[in-house]
Amino acid sequence: LAKTTQPISMDSYEGQEVNITCSHNNIATNDYITWYQQFPSQGPRFIIQGYKTKVTNEVASLFIPADRKSSTLSLPRVSLSDTAVYYCLVLWGTGGFKTIFGAGTRLFVKA
């Protein structure tokens, strides 16, 4: 299972774009990159998943360079409600099996 490294915490202000980068140097060919968001007293919530290049949905964008050794979650124009912990995961295939979470990145959005 590929190990991931991401910043422990980040601060931002409302309306700014936030980019959280995750390193996964030993990612394997069949691995997908997945991000989850967790608010206090709730379970994690799936945000986005990608294999290469760029993926965008209504919540975020995921940028993956050609070597796939890192990925960047981009949150456009954050609001106070985006304050949460964000987890980067590398999964064999598109998921299932043993899904391992790291410590995540605590994002604080200030007014």
Binding site: Y32, T34, Y36, S41, Q42, G43, P44, R45, F46, Q49, V85, Y87, L89, L91, G93, T94, G95, G96, F97, K98, T99, I100, F101, G102, A103, G104
Partner: protein
């Protein structure tokens, strides 16, 4: 439809007691996961079921922990002779096999406090 439901939401018990935590997954989801989360940490994998069988139980910390899913739907996590170190939020998640994303759907967790 309903999401993943976990009961109880809070459980306070004394050291040495037996505890059961229940998880009702999303209807039709064949995969079910249990995680444990301590304050300030990410979820720690415990066990993964595919249908009725435990496909991977390598995360169970010791033989005091056991989980079942007899009919391939509801699952129960059982903790014997609880210890203070077992205090944590126990999260359950489910997913549909064969889907195109790795999306796990989590419940809100059962907070266990061992006094």
């Amino acid at each position: 439809g309903a999401g993943v439901s976990q009961t109880p939401s809070n459980k306070v018990t004394e050291k040495g007691k037996y505890v059961e935590l229940r998880c009702d997954p999303i209807s039709g989801h064949t995969a079910l996961y249990w995680y444990r989360q301590s304050l300030g940490q990410g979820p720690e994998f415990l066990i993964y079921f595919q249908g009725t069988g435990a496909a991977d139980d390598s995360g169970l910390p010791n033989d005091r922990f056991f989980a079942v899913r007899p009919e391939g739907s509801v699952s129960t996590l059982k903790i014997q002779r609880t210890e203070r170190g077992d205090s944590a939020v126990y999260l359950c998640a489910s997913s549909a096999t064969g889907q195109n994303t790795g999306e796990l759907f989590f419940g809100e967790g059962s907070r266990l406090t061992v006094l």
